[in-house]
Amino acid sequence: MLTDRSKQVVRKEMTWAEKAYLPAIFSGMMITFSHIFKKKATIKYPEQKRPIAPIYRGQHVLKRDEAGAERCTACGLCAVACPAEAITMVAEERKKGEENLYREEKYASMYEINMLRCIFCGLCEEACPKEAIFLTDRLVPSTFERADFIYGKSKLVETIDNPIDVSVRQTQKVLEFKEDKKHKHNRTFLDKINTIIQRH
């Protein structure tokens, strides 16, 4: 016996009062009646929100850099990392004069996350080498159409006037971890070549 909570089942004959059921029904009704005045468990969602952790993994944001250019370089690592295959993108080469818009020479002209497929695991954020995508503590609101859950760049990229703060998720510790060459996944091709050269 793992706990002391088990009870011996008694199969005794019911007494007359129990057979009449009415006292039992009456006490049951008193219980339901008392529940009318109990505190309700409901959280009236859009107006009232359940407290969530500061590092909650909710709707994604595509960050811009300090100058306001998009950080994403359409490398596709997030899409590869995504276990739910929720991310699709189309890459494009940056033209002359677009340097203020896109930080890297290659950028995502189309970037979509299907919020119905997404399981909010945060692997895209971990995979991103450019610190471009982050999960935030915003909840994805419900809508009536499936198509409305496919979020394009218009919904994902933060606006310049209204930057989304991700400092709680992008702490110094995380940044150091991402730089740490001890971990295999942080070594780039160049690192590999360097180690080979060093060895010989």
């Binding site: 029904i25 049951g28 339901t32 009318i36 109990k38």
Partner: protein, 342 residues
């Protein structure tokens, strides 16, 4: 004023009140169930969700109307109509308040005072099963048919106990007219004092007659999908559901009239008001009682789980029927000892 005009007004009034109460019973049911389960219930449509029934009605009307091709079309449509008709018909004999004086004439606040009012009520209540039977049979669907069979056997079984409970009541009151019964309760105590057991049996049977939980085996979702209304959609389904709520309203009114003094309330003649004002207050008193019993119906529904079918039949035939017969005997003996009958 012509009596016929007054009657027409009363009919219109009662009809609309019945529909209104039934509409808001659906809201109340959801609210009560929610409150008893520590939830909030409908609160989005209008203040406190008060427009919810209207939204429901719109939804019902907008739904696609399906008539299974293998069903008997005519009977399929007839089923909900009968249910609705019989549900509405029963309100005719209920006295809603004391007499009302307009000019020189005095009218009863009742549509008709049948001298066989109880029999009429009983007849109409038994007719109600036809709506369910026909609907379930015409659907040409096993689940519907099973639901219909359950409903009819249940209603027939419980009608007997109900009838016997009323016989004891008729013995003490000596009349079949509802107005008489209510007026007698003005002079003396309400009938509940004389017939507590009969009242209990009657209330239990009323639950069974209206097909409400714990006796809702006819629509038992877990076993029969929706029972007799599995195949129904749109407003035809709405009619069935609505008829249930109207039945509940009428049953509450009947319970109040039979056993709890109808529109009478204690010390009503020492208030210093009479005539029309008293009648109007009486109407609201009756209404309060009805609202309480509707709440009671819902309260029971959200407390007690559904009976198993054999338990239902056992309770009806082996429990309530002997009890009702015993009640008649005891009533008779007490009346004989008291010298009310010789």
């Amino acid at each position: 004023m012509e009596p016929i005009i007054f009657k027409a007004i009363v009919v219109g009034l009662i009809f609309s009140i019945t529909l209104l109460v039934a509409t808001y019973s659906t809201y109340a049911e959801r609210k009560v169930s929610a409150l008893m389960q520590d939830r909030v219930g409908p609160n989005r449509a209008g203040p406190f969700g008060l427009l919810q029934p209207i939204a429901d009605a719109v939804k019902m009307f907008m739904k696609e109307e399906l008539i299974p091709s293998v069903s008997n079309r005519w009977l399929f449509v007839l089923g909900p109509c009968i249910s609705m008709l019989t549900a509405l018909m029963a309100g005719v004999v209920i006295p809603w308040g004391g007499p009302i004086t307009i000019g020189e004439q005095t009218f009863d606040f009742q549509i008709v005072d049948l001298n066989v009012g109880i029999l009429f009520l009983f007849g109409v209540a038994s007719l109600g099963v036809y709506g369910i039977m026909i609907g379930g049979w015409a659907s040409n669907n096993k689940f519907s048919l099973l639901g219909a069979i359950r409903a009819s056997s249940q209603m027939i079984s419980y009608e007997i106990a109900m009838g016997l409970a009323i016989i004891a009541l008729v013995m003490t009151t000596g009349t079949l007219s509802l107005k008489e019964i209510v007026n007698q309760q003005d002079a003396a105590y309400c009938n509940f004092v004389y017939q507590p057991l009969g009242c209990l049996i009657f209330i239990i049977c009323a639950f069974a007659e209206t097909n409400r939980a714990p006796f809702d085996l006819a629509e038992c979702e877990t076993e029969l999908i929706g029972g007799y209304h599995t195949e129904y959609s749109s407003m035809k389904l709405g009619f069935y559901l609505f008829a249930e709520y109207i039945n509940m309203f009428i049953s509450s009114a009947v319970i109040a009239c039979f056993y709890f003094g109808g529109y009478n309330f204690p010390f009503q003649h020492s208030l210093g008001i009479d005539g029309n004002w008293l009648s109007i207050i009486q109407f609201f008193v009756l209404f309060g009682k009805i609202v309480f019993f509707i709440f009671f119906f819902m309260w029971v529904r959200w407390t007690i789980p559904r009976f198993r079918y054999d338990q239902l039949m056992n309770l009806g035939w082996k429990g309530l029927l002997p009890l009702a017969i015993a009640n008649i005997f005891v009533t008779g003996i007490v009346m004989w000892v008291n010298g009310d009958i010789n």
